[in-house]
Symmetry: C2
Subunit: 351 residues, 2 copies
């Protein structure tokens, strides 16, 4: 397949991506959830627009730089799920708020104070969601009572309005989200505070999102492409994986070993708890045992690999989001038909 | 330090990088080794030129796309240590050979045949080094006798000339290189074949390169920046690390945990056998326990982290080469003085 393409290359099957977008939008529609996809997976305005046209309420970004790329391309409802810290970023956030319907998260008074300093003279208040740690041990207040304290601080702060509660739960943490947020909402009510939104997310638990009915909005990124981590977790099948890495065998130094031209510079070193570095489509008997920057070393479960130099293979990476960030362009196809390429416009937006 | 900079950002101390370049050039001069630095670490023509001006015989690249960036910038002696496979790449290689003094490696008849097809009508033969596996289990023929067979095939092939033997040894493999190459050279002599060059490399063993006197040329990449993997291996000290990642604390959800804005999108997931994701300069008591794309979770060995939101830190990454590839620009400084920025011109050259 695609014998003329230089490898390694990142391929995205538009039919599969479209099917993934529609299928999960349908799920959210059925369960009364609003969907706010995370653009970190594809980093392209074209896919973001497709997600919104399918019914998404807006998009999620994690960086102002990503949000700016999306805003420039006409996406107009953006949640940045990140604590914005520092004068330069706060100034950019303020500028961006003139362009789009914007909301952010905060999990400390320090962050709220910074936002308020930047927005105190804003004609429209900035919507700030309080980030809650429901078990992932990353950002977020760990106690529901602290969430209410911060929500009240947001309401008091000049230029800000309380937008709701947000969490990025641990994998398998749907029930924790339900109990944590239920308690927090009760405290909100006690405090006479209106909580307009409860936002949760995560692709690994996307099909059980409705088991936390307290949640009103769901954020998913990986679902548009899917990857080996989600297949291995039973969330989807190999046929649902829209993103693959096309690689060429460049060396067969021994019968039981082969080397491909896809290394960590395209597959990345992300393991997500898995062994090996991606799944070789159609070759369950082979594994990508190790990576260096430009080489992937393939071994067979048993005996010879049967691979020859020049042979091409497609790999479903462990984690698709990070692969998108390694290339300037992705190649688009529908099955065996190549359909051009697309710039990964928000690639490399680190700040 | 650098309070106004947006984070995360990749900083490179020019004084430290220059010192590293000169120190290893001196080592090579003292030991009669020619030095051919690998540009994968910095991916910038400016540093490549500095390496050549310090005395390097030329540069090493792993991709034609990288070599083209360097050739455009005036670097004129390039070894591509990779099996070039595929019509499109072979055509680019041929075009590049008109521009610079070029050599490549090969470890199979398939690769040699492809090179010969592309260069058979070339006015100058392409120099092809035979890649030898002296223990790293990546590319390369595993037996010295096979190296001679391929060297003879290169000599017979139209448009090619045998450029020597090349190996990327396993860490700690200097003695293996010496015995493997000694045997191969004896076989060359037996076969009446002149071997103009024996090229080895690797930063972890850079200070013992002279323990394999059979080697005439040494390739190193990481030595210009150094990183945590080399400090932990005793190759250099923290003061020799030119590349650091500047990060900001964005959350302190619990006394014993803090979150910084440097995640795998800038530090990458490369572990290189280490625990944790980089070294926090001046804070030996803290470690970067886990990364997600935009978050780094910091814990203390014992008790509280003592970190506050807004605080800045500098991190020496586990592996500096892969960090260079994550950003469009690096920020240059000398100690506490910022000196502008530099485009990472060969970033993202995957094919």
């Amino acid at each position: 397949m695609f014998d003329e393409l230089e490898t390694p290359a990142v391929l995205v099957d538009l039919d599969v991506a479209t099917r993934n977008i529609l299928r999960y939008q349908n799920y959210c529609n059925e369960h009364g959830l609003t969907l706010r996809p995370h653009i970190k997976t594809h980093k392209t305005p074209e896919f973001a627009r497709q997600q919104v046209m399918a019914g998404a309420v807006g998009i999620t970004c994690q960086k102002i730089s990503e949000a700016r790329v999306m805003a420039e391309a006409g996406l107009d409802d953006i949640l940045i799920t990140y604590n914005i810290v520092g004068a330069s970023k706060l100034a950019k956030l303020r500028a961006l708020s003139n362009q789009v319907r914007l909301s952010v998260t905060a999990d400390s008074l320090f962050v709220i104070d910074g936002l308020s300093d930047s927005f105190e003279d804003s004609p429209e208040p900035l919507s700030v969601l309080v980030e809650c740690d429901t078990g992932a041990l990353r950002c977020g207040v760990t106690e529901p009572s602290d969430a209410i304290t911060l929500a009240q601080a947001v309401e008091r702060a000049a230029g800000l309005s309380f937008g709701g509660l947000m969490t990025y739960p641990a994998v398998g943490g749907t029930q924790n989200v339900q109990s944590w947020m239920t308690e927090a909402l009760a405290l909100c009510k006690e405090a006479g505070l209106d909580c307009p939104l409860v936002s949760s997310g995560g692709s690994p638990d996307m099909w059980t999102a409705h088991h936390a009915p307290v949640v009103t909005e769901y954020r998913v990124g990986t679902y548009i492409y899917n990857d080996r981590s989600l297949v291995e977790a039973g969330v989807c099948s190999w046929q649902d994986c829209a993103l693959t890495v096309l690689a060429t065998v460049v060396s067969t130094p021994a019968p039981d070993r082969a080397v491909i031209d896809a290394g960590s510079k395209i597959l990345t070193s992300d393991l997500l708890g898995l062994e090996g570095h991606g799944h070789l489509l159609g070759r369950d008997d082979l594994s990508v045992r190790s990576l260096s920057e430009e080489h992937g070393c393939i071994t067979a479960t048993e005996g010879a690999t049967g691979l020859a130099v020049g042979e091409r293979m497609r790999i479903v990476p462990n984690h698709c989001c990070v692969v998108s960030n390694m290339v300037d362009r992705i190649l688009l196809h529908r099955g065996d038909r190549l359909e051009g390429d697309r710039k990964v416009a928000a690639r490399g937006c680190v700040a």
